[in-house]
Symmetry: C2
Subunit: 504 residues, 2 copies
């Protein structure tokens, strides 16, 4: 008998090879995106667009190759032989394949063109508060997105809006979000006036006086990042117009934007991105370049940045630690840099119209509003023309403010005009998840708050690594939360956190 | 009659599409290489290696796809319908295809592994001057490279060594190089003693006293680059261990390495790389992402960097210009920064053992030696074991020096140990070509030397752009030289340049 030269390669193993190649190319594209945002001269834009488009086409071809579909069918038929992680990997491969194959290429191209055209008009319309000017283009974007959502919904077995959310937060369900947002939507109008009254009694913080030179801010930011656990052998800090976290797990690159007038926002922005970065850095190394090895979704991702920023860094404990560092870095600001004054600065609540400037108390109101609008648009319960009216009425209900114009209302975020529907809920679900994870970490290690006061994050990071980061995409977001905290997402933990921080 | 919905796409047009995709992916890889050398943290290395390897495999698959070969056959059969540039483009496509398909993948893999292993041992063997330690691995590299050279030679219809040179300088022929190098090899032993005697009479230059802060050097380098014609909207200057020119034509990125003890080398290195950059920047934009749109080969590329460095920047005229800039930048060094002293610094001749430290007079001796050794190795006239002996004897003949050990001899350059045979001749052919092109540019625009003294390079750049850069790969290197200067490469122009600079 002749022995075969090599064992037959299973369909699953061949899929791993395919997705390894796909992931490496996607990572290459990721580095090129970082470069474009952080260091590329303007003149490089057309060539870079061509490089990225070509990589996108090659990746799409790998994913939608009929052979990939055949291998998925075969591997699923043999799934009983796989380990849990392999099965989870296979499920993630299938999910990517479903998203990639659900839409025909004409629709994808039409969406891309419509979004580009709409975004360009939005840039003009926003400063003029001219919703009517962008309305026809946004209608077109919405119609195409509705087609895409319907096609994906059919394949995924969920509602059209859930199919859109699935692109960012796999498995997200309207019923779960409804419950959570209804709870907070009822809580806020009663809670907010108490917060504002308490804040008024505490008095206004002293503003630190600049200038705060960029090079000094950057050195400070790097020191803080190192304390949080960031390793500069495996990452960088740079500048870009919009702060973000890019790169790859072995080489995570975050960016920020400095203003020499103040350090407050840039520093907290760096801490926020560091939260994202540590998640990427601690993903399961043994599953690199496989779908199961990547971050679970945008809810968990936002939870990691918001845990670092909102739970850890804006705490009274960390303000005490920061005070020493800041006084060392920016002499002559002793009063403004006292622990108590920093706490006032970093826990200011101020209801306003602009989401990206919102504090953690009012932020969910902005999200709940957008979620309701998106959901109704994709259920067909709301016409696009009625969105500004609904927006303004809902805003009044949630935050008690009259929106002065669409510039401060429906025109403010680029997301919709760029064709991105279904992302917004991730922000607030992330904030609530962050509170619950931090609460559980502190229960497991009661010394964490005292350690944060000393600038020590090893126990917190260790807990997050073990309970969140190293799980990659092997289980769902609700399973991560339940395993780590003992129960599903519970808004009460977030509410208790807010009460402690803003009423005491 | 029905009109067809669209005209049939010609084989040639389909090849352009394929090579456009291939080129965009190669450019992506180029940016990733720049990133690795200039900004990537060490920890990113394994992930980057995987990204680059994957891009390499995808590019190789596009090129060696049987459909690419079929399209080439068809397009060549229809070549009469093409324009000159299209025909030249097709010829370059064929050349890439021939190189990519000449070797079977087992040989490519064996070469890659052998080179990696050999280079690692060379890093240890070089400081110990231990040629014997690396001999078996270099033998293996050489044997595999001989197989590759034979396979490519058969397809290209040239000698094995010419097939290796063709990878860097398409169409290079031993007979042409023999003639040029024999001429200079006869000239040098008579010329060099006269240069050294003349130099002794002029006396030694005063050394500028540092420190020269890196940030100040970088600002100076940028000012000089701008004067040479570099546009920072389309490029960058960064630092890396080995200076190089990377990026893409719309976004050319050069690097240098600073020492705070002296500015002399870093500044001239930046000027050298700027010469490479301006060539890339001025390649024919209408042929972007096509084989005919890229730089002709390494001889012309080296000619552009050496023209900028050796012909323009080390001239007495530019030293006068530089003197003003340098005195402004580094106060307190007036004597050392006088025009005449800078000229002495920048035209020092000092025969030595190390190629990369050599001046322009003795540099060709290093190259002639390596060329003779390479040629004999691939013709089979020389055994590897005999190389150190031949090296030392030839070195004595050319430069009159006794090589103290193989560390200063056969072990000094990484090229052979890394499997790169056939590159060395490009350096000196480039230097000679630079002299001839500069001479022709000054004949066409006699005001160029006076303009260089004022830091103005527009006429020189315009001439280079029209006569060299914008030709891309549409004609051969000898044709570029002949069209631009009225005759083929003529060593006498280089010799006259040296006589003027070093004997007057």
């Amino acid at each position: 008998m002749n022995k075969p030269l090599s064992a037959p390669v299973s369909a699953y193993a061949r899929l791993e090879q395919r997705f390894r190649r796909l992931s490496a190319l996607q990572e290459a594209a990721g580095v090129l995106h970082w470069d474009m945002a952080a260091v590329m001269p303007d003149g490089g834009r057309p060539a870079r667009a061509e490089q990225l488009a070509t990589l996108g086409v090659v990746c799409h071809e790998i994913l939608t190759d009929p052979a990939t579909g055949d291998l998925l069918d075969q591997a699923e038929a043999e799934a009983a032989r796989l380990t849990d992680w392999q099965r989870a990997n296979l499920a993630e491969m299938r999910r990517s394949h479903t998203h990639a194959t659900a839409l025909d290429s004409d629709l994808v191209e039409a969406m891309s063109k419509a979004a580009t055209a709409c975004e360009a008009v939005w840039r003009e319309a926003r400063p003029k508060a001219d919703f009517a000017a962008v309305f026809p283009l946004l209608s077109e974007v919405l119609n195409l997105t509705r087609q895409a959502a319907a096609a994906k919904a059919e394949k995924l077995g969920c509602s059209p809006y859930e199919a859109l959310m699935d692109q960012y937060e796999p498995g997200a369900r309207e019923a779960d979000i409804d419950r959570v947002f209804a709870d907070y939507g009822a809580f806020l109008p009663e809670f907010l006036p108490r917060v504002l009254e308490h804040q008024a009694r505490r008095g206004k913080p002293v503003e630190p006086k600049g200038p705060f030179p960029q090079a000094v801010q950057k050195q400070l930011a790097k020191r803080v990042m190192e304390r949080l656990g960031f390793d500069f052998k495996h990452g960088r800090l740079d500048e870009s117009h919009h702060p973000f976290c890019g790169g790859v797990p072995e080489d995570v690159r975050i960016t920020t934007r400095y203003s020499e007038d103040q350090f407050v926002q840039a520093l907290m922005g760096v801490i926020h991105e560091t939260g994202h970065a540590l998640y990427e850095r601690n993903l399961p190394a043994e599953w690199r370049l496989q779908p199961v090895g990547v971050a679970r979704g945008m809810v968990v991702h936002e939870s990691q940045s918001l845990l670092m920023e909102m739970q850890a860094a804006r705490s009274a404990q960390f303000c005490r630690h920061l005070s020493g560092l800041l006084r060392e870095t920016f002499p002559g600001n002793d009063e403004a840099l006292s622990p108590e004054n920093l706490r006032l600065i970093y826990s200011r609540v101020e209801p306003g119209f602009i989401r990206v400037d919102a504090d953690e108390v009012t932020y969910p109101a902005h999200i709940i509003l957008r979620y309701q609008v998106e959901k109704a648009l994709f259920r067909g319960d709301l016409q696009l023309a009625d969105v500004p009216g609904v927006w303004n009425a809902e805003f009044k209900k949630l935050l008690g403010l009259d929106v002065p114009s669409d510039r401060e209302g429906v025109l403010q975020d680029v997301h919709w005009y760029d064709g991105a529907f279904g992302y917004f809920p991730c922000y607030s679900l992330g904030a609530m998840t962050a509170a619950q994870l931090f609460d559980a970490a502190c229960k497991a290690h009661p010394e964490i708050p005292a350690e944060i006061e000393q600038g020590k994050f090893a126990n917190l990071q260790g807990w997050l690594k073990a309970n969140v980061h190293r799980l990659g995409s092997s289980v769902t977001t609700p399973e991560i939360v339940t395993r780590a905290t003992g129960r599903p997402l519970d808004v009460n933990v977030f509410k208790r956190h807010l009460e402690r921080r803003y009423l005491s």
